[in-house]
């Protein structure tokens, strides 16, 4: 048989269980060789042999694995039936370990490791206390300056406030923010339902996913309906994706576009504050006739200052100085401070949370290590309880590989049962934590997968190490000890 066929057949045989391969792979290869030689004269003979062999091997592999699983399961059920307390202890230990570690790591991951849910958060600069008076006193200057600058890619403002959102059957207090039309674009965010702020006139709102679920029961027809916040009627344009709550756990973002031009608004003193938000690409010249993008009269909420968000090209700190300089030039009395990249701003606001998360993470690692140690002890007990059986198998000539894989395979159902129960507990606990802590996802797949995999592998490793410990003993000694 040509070497390439032999090599490919060895690879194909890997789908079969190791024990079956050990007993029959050589015979299967001999049959295959005869098949090949009997069809060597026919055109495409080798391909036909392969096409008939591969499905057959897969079918055989499924049957063999199913047979092994069935016998392992029966053996496991007999074992569990004899040692109910042990099985319950192992599953319980494993389940509680997974549940606790998942919960603790979810919090740690959300606060310490996961990056902000924004597109390139390190390129967003937040300027606190941008003087609204600057825009009011000479809006044209600000607008022109924004037109000519080449540093920003996108720019938006926001002004947080709180309001009463009237739902169908109840009114809830929500955190809201008046934002510019480019607000979500700066964060690189898109809505879950509907659209963000469009170009038509009127007052709009985008709802947060949580308030959409809590107040409107996740009803998708809320998009297009009119809601009332503080008595003000707003048309719901869309629902934001889960996780986005900027600023300060905001659940309603509002935006008003008037027909009036910016200058008219100022001339007539209709606006208490207005601001210009402009979108500029460094490589694209700004349109000459570009007018104000938004204007928002909010007589009932006179702000002294705004918060400005700028998405910049390159190093965000390079953009801060020109912004501050431009403001100083136009309004010497104004001081813009707290101009920092978004990542830094968020990091500072999370300092105390991060400390708790660090402590929690340390405890999570310690508890996981303790769980693994406990698992090792239980595994040692499990393997030791089968010492006589393993000794007999060893004396009858079973290889060390077969015995260790047998022990690991038969311990797997216990471990899987533990993972299953643990995941159910972790999900239930995670929902409680998510309700208490913003940004913690109860079903964070990365955390759950990592914790379950780590503990499962530790369990398998513990079984293997303990079985090796027993198997390495002299079978005579092992048997005599019973």
């Amino acid at each position: 048989m040509p070497r390439v066929h032999a090599f490919l057949l060895r690879i194909a045989c890997l789908v079969l269980p190791a024990s079956f391969r050990q007993d029959y792979q050589r015979e299967i290869m001999l049959v295959f060789r005869e098949e090949l030689s009997s069809r060597s004269g026919a055109s495409g003979g080798a391909i036909r042999v392969w096409l008939s062999l591969l499905p057959d091997l897969i079918e055989t592999a499924i049957r063999e694995h199913a047979g092994l699983f069935k016998s392992d399961l029966l053996l496991w059920l007999r074992f569990v039936g004899r040692r109910k307390a042990f099985a319950a202890g192992l599953i319980g230990n494993f389940a509680v370990s997974i549940a606790l570690a998942s919960a603790m790591f979810s919090v740690t991951y959300a606060l310490l490791l996961r990056s902000l849910p924004y597109h390139d958060p390190d390129r967003i600069v937040r300027l606190e206390n941008f003087p609204a008076v600057l825009a009011q006193s000479n809006p044209g200057v600000v607008r022109d300056w924004l037109k000519t600058q080449k540093v920003f890619e996108d720019l938006a403002y926001y002004s947080p406030w709180g309001g009463n959102l009237e739902g169908e059957d109840r009114t809830v207090r929500v955190k809201a923010a008046s934002v510019s039309g480019s607000f979500f674009g700066v964060f690189g965010q898109s809505v879950l339902l509907g659209s963000d702020f469009d170009e038509s006139s009127g007052a709009f709102a985008v709802l947060g996913e949580q308030v959409w679920q809590d107040v409107f029961g996740g009803d998708p027809t809320v998009v297009g309906r009119t809601i009332r916040v503080n008595g003000e009627q707003l048309r719901v344009n869309g629902v934001m994706r889960p996780g986005f709550r900027f600023p300060e756990s905001t659940q309603v973002w509002t935006y008003t576009r008037g027909d009036e031009t910016l200058s008219r608004l100022f001339e007539e003193q209709q606006a208490v504050f207005t601001f210009v938000a402009a979108r500029r690409e460094s490589s694209v010249a700004p349109p000459v006739d570009s007018g104000p993008e938004i204007s928002y009269p909010l007589a009932e909420r006179p702000p002294g200052f705004l918060s400005l968000l700028v998405r910049v090209h390159g190093n965000p700190l390079d953009a801060v100085r020109p912004i501050q300089q431009a403001i100083r030039d136009e309004a010497p009395q104004a001081t813009v401070f707290d101009a920092r990249p978004m990542t830094e701003y968020v990091a500072e606001s999370l300092t105390s949370h991060r400390l708790y998360a660090l402590i929690l993470g340390t405890f999570a690692i310690l508890s996981t290590a303790t769980s693994i140690a406990g698992l090792m002890s239980v595994a040692l007990f499990y393997v030791s309880s089968r010492r006589q059986e393993l000794g007999i198998r060893l004396a009858l000539g079973a290889s060390m590989f077969r015995l260790t894989s047998l022990v690991a395979r038969q311990g797997m159902p216990l471990l899987f049962a533990g993972v299953l129960v643990g995941e159910v507990l972790a999900c239930a606990g995670g929902r409680g934590i998510a309700a208490l802590l913003a940004g913690v996802q109860p079903l964070d797949p990365a955390v759950h997968l990592a914790v379950s995999t780590a503990l499962l592998l530790s369990g398998i490793l513990a079984m293997l190490i303990c079985s090796l410990k027993v198997i390495r003993l002299d079978p005579n000694v092992t048997l005599r000890a019973q």
């Binding site: 079956f20 007993d23 001999l30 049959v31 005869e34 008939s52 062999l53 055989t60």
Partner: protein, 120 residues
């Protein structure tokens, strides 16, 4: 030493077509895997051509049920000098094969009595 109680061949019935054909192939004498496969293809007029995996899965099952046993390894004089594992049918396997043949014969007789199934 106490002898193991005799097993009832009826416990194994009905046999799958592949298991039955393997037993029939081995009634004629000891054979290795490829020879069993050829014999099955011949006796079933090409209707049953098990793949190597299915064949050895069936052989494994028959060995586990003590219907066949290994008869050592030796080269096939007709093929080459490579050593092959031979199998032979056991006494119990012969009883099971006879019981299966009887079951099939009874089924055939009953079928032939049905309208439209009578042999010419």
């Amino acid at each position: 030493m106490a002898r193991a109680p005799a097993r009832d061949p009826a416990e194994q019935l009905p046999l799958s077509p592949l298991h039955f054909h393997i037993l029939i192939a081995l009634v004629e004498g000891e054979r290795h895997g490829y020879a069993i496969k050829k014999s099955i293809a011949d006796s079933s007029a090409g209707m049953l051509e098990p793949g190597a995996g299915s064949l050895y899965h069936a052989i494994k099952g028959l060995l586990a049920g003590s219907l066949i046993e290994e008869a050592g390894e030796r080269p096939d004089p007709h093929l080459d000098d490579e050593r092959r594992r031979y199998y032979r049918i056991t006494r119990y396997g012969q009883q099971v094969a006879r019981a299966e043949a009887g079951r099939l014969a009874a089924l055939l007789r009953r079928t032939r009595r049905l309208p439209g199934f009578a042999s010419d």
